[in-house]
Symmetry: C2
Subunit: 145 residues, 2 copies
């Protein structure tokens, strides 16, 4: 498997071990991870720390050109908030683990010129399927349902 | 002036006093502020704590129905990230201080059924105009430019 998607999956698993929602993300600039993160709704009582947002936060304040040369990996199709962050910073390409459990704003991203690849990775699918069956109320809270 | 926009402006001024970017926001549920925030890029070295995001974070984990009965006030037109958070949580109405300094994703929000009001408030305009003239590099960083 792609090393960077593997790193995003490790983030998702780390979140699960912490009692959280298993979604992970890494931001990669010139083949180097500059920010890795996972959903911290439970861990930090946060309404905004989705996996991708946590990766942006952990990457810290970056110059605009760094974002514009980066690829974002995420285990799950990005919701409107995370997609909005991708658009804000002009991330040109994202690699998505899967979109069978949840379809995010892929159409909006593509319409704004973002290159979107979906792997339909079995590990990512199983992580979310198990979690959604075990903790449906937490999953719903995470997507505002 | 509207009490809640006044509270958002106070948040923006607080941010400015802290050496930050003067954008503030409050989330109001049934005539009560449940979350107030301001941009903390400088204060926390944060790439995600725009004013609206900080208000969401400070409101904490809320049930879906609370967001769906809330109004978000922000001193400046919301960028794609903050607009994405508004869509994620199904905020039905937002009141914007001004969009002359920066035009955010108002068209997207309206296309998804969000009620958008723009006040073109002179205090909000002056706060941003002065800041953008004084610290253009910081403002550009905040919008990924």
């Amino acid at each position: 498997m792609d090393t960077f998607m593997q790193a995003a999956i490790e983030q998702a698993r780390l979140g699960l071990q912490e009692g959280g929602i298993p979604i992970g993300s890494v931001i990669v600039h010139k083949q180097r991870i500059i920010g890795a993160g996972h959903n911290r709704r439970v861990q930090k009582g946060s309404a905004i720390l989705h996996g991708e947002m946590d990766a942006f936060e952990n990457a810290g304040r970056q110059p605009a050109n760094v974002y514009r040369e980066s690829v974002l990996y995420t285990t799950l199709s990005p919701c409107s908030m995370c997609s909005g962050a991708i658009l804000l910073y002009g991330i040109p390409k994202i690699i998505i683990g899967e979109n069978q459990s949840f379809m995010g704003e892929e159409a909006l991203l593509r319409s704004r010129g973002v290159q979107v690849e979906v792997l339909q990775d079995e590990i990512c699918i199983e992580l979310m399927k198990s979690f959604m069956a075990a903790r449906p109320e937490l999953w719903n809270e995470d997507i505002g349902v």
